[in-house]
């Protein structure tokens, strides 16, 4: 009987063995077999990342060559007066994208992330891009605004930024379309 009474004290020793942490715990000492497998998995993961990089570029070159490429980005600056729900994009009257945002994606935009919402091809010449922003404005009122841009598509790739920012003087959101070369 006494033997297992003493065993009850074991957890105490174990409890005091390690510090407690909010950070990632260090790896336990690896066995040779496990170490080899871990190294293999890490190596594979690296190769898969590199392969995905190459395939990402290949896909872009194949589907959206620079001569016809147009990319539309959405960004947010401050965003106090507008809580974004969705963005719809029409090019030459045809809907090409209609994106509904999650809370996490909105947060990503607010922290400086810029979303490439559409990547496509356009012939050289003039095209009309219309973007509709829906969400909630001040006092939780539903809000829908549009912004129009005439794109003069030349030989190189064209990047269009749809920027949602705050117009402090009017306490209203502002939707700006900016073209990057």
């Amino acid at each position: 009987m006494k033997a297992w009474i003493k065993a009850a004290a074991v957890p105490a020793i174990m409890l005091l063995a390690l510090a407690t942490s909010r950070a990632e715990e260090p790896a336990p000492p690896p066995t040779p077999e496990r170490s080899a497998l871990d190294a293999e998995v890490q190596g594979l993961r690296r190769e898969v990342v590199d392969l995905n990089r190459d395939l990402f570029m290949l896909e872009e070159d194949l589907l959206f060559p620079a001569s016809t490429q147009v990319a539309v980005f959405v960004s947010m600056d401050v965003g106090t007066f507008f809580d974004l729900d969705s963005v719809q994009i029409r090019i030459d009257g045809k809907e090409v994208s209609n994106y509904l945002y999650t809370a996490r994606e909105r947060e990503a935009l607010l922290r400086g992330g810029v979303q490439r919402i559409w990547l496509g091809n356009m012939k050289a010449g003039e095209h009309e891009l219309v973007a509709f922003f829906t969400g909630q404005g001040t006092h939780e009122r539903d809000y829908k605004r549009g912004a129009t841009l005439t794109i003069d598509k030349g030989v190189g790739a064209k990047y269009v930024e749809l920027l949602i920012s705050d117009r402090l003087r009017k306490l209203q959101p502002e939707f700006v379309v900016k073209v990057w070369e």
Partner: protein, 747 residues
């Protein structure tokens, strides 16, 4: 069999199932009107020491019929603040205790946690919770509040991007899609989009590799950034910090400490606190407890971090044989006034550590006080209850020890503390000379151990048959498995019970993360394999479409002679120049004016043929006047016409330039399209074997990783089985001893 006398309050006569002979509502307390309908004897559910807590055996109750008794009158029902549901109790609660309840979050839409977790119906944010408008599931998983699945400790402040592509990477990074962010970061870097953010991008790349568990790559990147003398101080500090983290995570504590100490003070407060604790923890892992004490003594950071610092300081002091101060420090954490779930868990841990440390130091009363502070619903509850019983037993208060041990008795037998309680309860009864109960509980222990043993064996067979990982991955069905994240939900399969247990182990958890990342890789490669087939088809289709359109395109190109257009444009230009030089107003005359001039020239010629005819003098005068009017008009319109013609020439120049450019492009495309298509085909052909080869290697690694996980699980379960066997032997030995003493008349 004789009934137990009413005066025998201890009920230690050992006679079972004779309660109703006294407890009939007249001689002694009987069933109240609201008692659940039953014909069973009192001692089926109640103990002889008190009516409550009662232990109702739910074994015979049909699933989904809980509300027949649990209606708030006959037995506890739903509280007013219970979450809205029409489900039966057993959908979430077990028959052992209301809490912990296991709510299946599978059907809950992401981001809607606050509909229940509002602080009333279910746990909400505590007053000390960090300020955030995020939903709970941004940081927490559904299994437990802590550990959090990953708080993004503002590792990157809000960024003003100077290149949209870098912003696109950040969009995925802030959205915690680390693999996608890394792929885009690498691709955009290759495409030359990230130049304005080169160093930040490199720091981010290192951080992303670290998030994916790629320690070697992360380390290389941070070391490279640090070797570059032009790296700004702020980036250097972060690089040193993350390098320290990589080294710590890989167990290189010496190097980790050196890296962490190289930070020159430019970190935000959260990272600075983490740095300090990492240094101390590294020292503790190396057994340098005095150094760890020196590192943490007197340190003050943000509240949460300070509490961790004090806990670790307490542990370090105890380990450095400075028990008294160590106990005091642990007590400080153990007496924390907080509602923060993370700190409550830490407080439990401190009280538990302190309780056992005091037990070891021979201070059972003080140990009991510390252990009593551990919450009954937390993960440390079982160990605390066991310890509390031992603290009482150490002082000879076996009756009192039975209270925590009986509370443990009936909890999940998977827990080592619960397993021990099955021996502790009869041990206490034996010490109290309640031999009948002691034997009964020893026998129950043997039965339960055997049943658990059978379940373990079944689970081992299931794991050998590969069902463990199928179950673990099925929990993610319908969603792309994360690349390097912890499992957030578990399926309701027999093996799941053990998965919870196994997941507590670092090795299994890391192994499972690797396995799931291999599964994600396999799915990724499978997707690309399909896409590559489509790419090849696309190139082929384009080639044949090009070949089909080529004759017509060639015909059209041949029709357009840009050189001839150029010549004509040049001739026009020369004529305009000459007209301007000579102020030749007739050069810009309209067709009508030319007709007039031609007509006047004809009249002039006719009049000249009759030069001596005086009768034509009037006609001559009229012709002169008419010419004068035409020339006057031409002169008056000259400036306007020059401006209009020059504008028309400029427009013509632009059109001719466009035509020339387009023709050049058409010719270039005519020549370049096949070359480009061939180059793309070469790239597709080159990458295809890489995909196939990687898919094979990933599948093999996944299989090996699966075997490794199964081995870990089986070893762990076999260890459990061995422990149960030992306990079973001890129970049998105890029974034999009791019978032996009874037969020999030994007290």
């Amino acid at each position: 069999m004789a009934a137990v006398p009413a005066a025998d309050a201890s009920h230690t006569g050992g006679v079972l199932h004779s309660c109703l002979s006294c407890h009939d509502g007249t001689k002694a307390t009987g069933k109240p009107p609201t008692h659940i309908p039953t014909a069973l004897e009192c001692d089926t559910c109640h103990m002889s020491t008190a009516w409550l807590p009662a232990r109702f055996d739910h074994a015979g109750v049909a699933p989904g019929t809980c509300a027949q008794c649990h209606d708030g009158v006959r037995a506890t029902g739903k509280t007013p603040t219970h979450i809205t549901t029409t489900e039966s109790c057993d959908a979430c609660h077990s028959t052992i205790a209301w809490l912990p309840a296991r709510f299946d979050h599978a059907g809950v839409a992401p981001g809607t946690c606050a509909q229940c977790h509002d602080g009333v119906r279910a746990t909400g944010k505590t007053p000390t919770h960090i300020t955030t408008t995020e939903s709970c599931d941004t940081c927490h998983v559904t299994r437990a509040w802590i550990p959090v699945s990953g708080v993004d400790h503002a590792e990157l402040p809000a960024v003003k991007v100077q290149d949209l592509h870098y912003g696109d990477v950040l969009f995925y990074f802030f959205g915690r899609k680390y693999f996608e962010a890394l792929v885009r970061l690498s691709a955009y870097g290759e495409q030359g989009h990230l130049a304005p953010h080169a160093r930040d991008a490199e720091l981010l790349r290192g951080g992303l590799y670290l998030s994916l568990g790629q320690h070697r790559e992360a380390r290389e990147i941070f070391e490279r950034l640090l070797a570059d003398t032009t790296t700004p101080a702020q980036v250097r500090d972060r690089a040193w910090f993350y390098l320290g983290k990589v080294l710590y995570a890989t167990g290189n504590f010496d190097q980790s400490e050196r890296a962490l100490r190289s930070v020159s003070g430019g970190l935000p407060i959260e990272l600075e606190s983490e740095r300090r604790l990492l240094i101390a923890q590294g020292l503790m892992y190396r057994g340098q407890f005095d150094a760890a004490v020196a590192e943490l003594d007197g340190w003050q950071g943000p509240d949460n971090w300070t509490a961790y610092g004090r806990f670790n300081l307490g542990v370090a002091l105890v380990r450095a044989n400075r028990a008294e101060r160590g106990h005091a420090m642990l007590e400080q954490v153990g007496l924390l006034q907080t509602t923060d779930p993370e700190l409550l868990a830490l407080r439990d841990k401190a009280n538990l550590a302190l309780g056992y440390a005091l037990l070891q130091a021979g201070q059972p009363a003080a140990a009991r006080t510390a252990l009593d502070r551990v919450r009954l619903k937390g993960p440390q509850a079982n160990k605390a209850l066991l310890g509390a019983g031992w603290a009482d037993a150490a002082g000879g208060a076996y009756q009192q020890a039975l209270v925590p041990w009986m509370e443990l008795h009936g909890r999940d037998l998977l827990d080592a503390a619960v397993q021990e309680s099955y021996l502790a309860v009869p041990y206490a009864y034996a010490e109290l000379s309640a031999i009948g109960q002691a034997v009964e509980y020893y026998e129950q222990a043997i039965t339960e151990y055997d049943a658990e043993r059978v379940r373990i064996e079944e689970s081992i067979s299931a794991i050998r048959a590969g069902r463990l990982l199928t179950a673990a991955l099925a929990a993610d069905s319908g969603a792309q498995p994360d690349w390097f994240a912890q499992l957030t939900t578990l399926p309701d399969a027999p093996e799941s019970r053990y998965l919870y247990h196994l997941l507590a182990g670092h090795e299994f958890q890391e192994g499972l993360k690797s396995y799931r990342s291999l599964e994600a890789m396999a799915q990724n490669l499978d997707g690309w394999s399909t896409s590559l087939g489509a790419f090849s088809d696309m190139i082929e289709t384009r080639n044949s479409a090009f070949a089909g359109k080529l004759p017509e395109a060639d015909r059209r190109l041949a029709m357009v002679d840009v050189a001839e257009i150029n010549q004509r444009r040049d001739a026009l230009h020369a004529r305009l120049e000459a007209a301007l030089r000579d102020r030749d107003t007739t050069a810009l005359a309209t067709d009508a004016e030319h007709q007039w001039l031609a007509m006047l020239a004809g009249v002039d010629a006719e009049l000249a043929a009759h030069a001596g005819d005086a009768s034509l003098d009037e006609a001559r005068e009229k012709a002169r006047l008419a010419r004068g009017v035409v020339m006057w008009n031409l002169d008056a319109a000259w400036k306007t016409r020059v401006w209009q013609t020059q504008r028309a020439m400029r427009e013509l120049n632009a059109v001719v330039y466009d035509a020339r450019t387009r023709q050049a492009e058409a010719v270039k495309a005519r020549k370049g399209a096949p070359v480009r298509a061939a180059a793309l085909a070469v790239r597709v052909d080159a990458v295809s074997p890489r995909v196939t080869d990687l898919a094979v290697r990933v599948a093999a690694a996944k299989e090996a990783q699966g075997r490794r996980l199964a081995d870990i699980a089986i070893n762990e379960l076999e260890e459990q089985r061995r422990r149960l066997d030992e306990y079973s032997v001890q129970a049998r030995y105890a029974i034999a001893t009791i019978y032996d003493r009874a037969s020999s008349g030994t007290p």
